[in-house]
Symmetry: C2
Subunit: 193 residues, 2 copies
């Protein structure tokens, strides 16, 4: 390809933008914030992201989505997916303070975008539903091989778990400490059995 070569790495740019959006949301993160966070000038920025701020935000969401996808791929090879999911929830409790305060960028986006941008809100909802489908799959699996005795419909238990996730990501900001959260998480997981 002919022309001046790019000096910026797309994935690194997206990760830095993602971090900025994660903390302050879409509206409160200014273009200046993004240029400072990524080190780009506005020339490169609008050359790379022709759709402007919204395109960057969408790409940042999709980069975050990849992390969930990778977890899902990992689950497929696990001897006990439901236990991995339970471990994932239990590990939330021991995260550091800033991680608690940030919550989940996808849930945050649902909250912020509902009355602001239909496309971005739907994108976030879709990702949450993908995570929910992963929960449902793991529960169904565990019910079939007898690991989980609970006979409740796996779809309902999956919906329960995504709601636990959504709830924790707000409650962990009320109590950003391990002690308060671990009892809570264990109580919530006890529903699955």
């Amino acid at each position: 390809m002919r022309g001046r070569p790019t000096t910026f790495n797309q994935d690194q740019i997206l990760e830095k933008a993602q971090r900025a959006f994660w903390e302050k949301g879409f509206a409160a993160t200014s273009l200046d914030d993004l240029l400072n966070a990524t080190g780009m000038g506005s020339g490169s920025f609008y050359n790379t992201f022709k759709g402007g701020k919204k395109e960057l935000f969408s790409k940042a969401l999709q980069q975050r989505r990849q992390v969930f996808q990778e977890f899902k791929t990992q689950l497929k090879t696990s001897p006990s997916p439901i236990d991995d999911i339970k471990d994932f929830f239990r590990s939330i409790a021991t995260a550091d303070r800033d991680t608690h305060l940030r919550g989940c960028i996808i849930s945050n986006t649902v909250v912020e975008m509902t009355f602001l941008d239909d496309a971005l809100e739907k994108e976030a909802v879709t990702i949450l539903k993908e995570v929910e489908a992963m929960f449902t799959w793991a529960i169904k699996q565990a019910q079939e091989n007898g690991t989980v005795k609970n006979k409740t419909a796996p779809e309902l238990l999956g919906r329960y778990l995504i709601t636990v996730w959504n709830g924790l990501n707000i409650s962990r900001r009320m109590y950003p400490n391990t002690k308060a959260l671990s009892d809570l998480i264990n109580l919530q997981l006890s529903v699955i059995g």
Copy 2:
């Protein structure tokens, strides 16, 4: 008192501002939005709310807080407070679509303000903790008179219920319909027993 009399009613102004903030959050609700929603001119606005947009937002939060306080007062005279709380949760499922999409203005504020405004974030967290304390009180009450057999510490069950609230207010935007939510809510309430 001497001087030109006010033409605006404070409570009505706050309710209209609250509705605007509830849908779009603090940052995305412009002063123009607020002036249109309330019908005030900027002269009256800054004369009434010397602290500007932030003071108005804080007052709107406090007006919402009053609704929770009134529910609490009502609970004190109830023969079975915990059943009233369960009914409250069950009634969420039958709300209309827009009510689902709006979620809880207090939870929304925690999400938005964490890295933007310490005072407003703390204000919102405090209100959520007040609601949590109400849950805890009702559970303790019910455990003492035998209505609730579950021996789990009331503080933990209260923390559980506020997390259910936080989670529902995101999940109801994923599934803004009665059928999906009522099964979910019943499952979550089954933990209390």
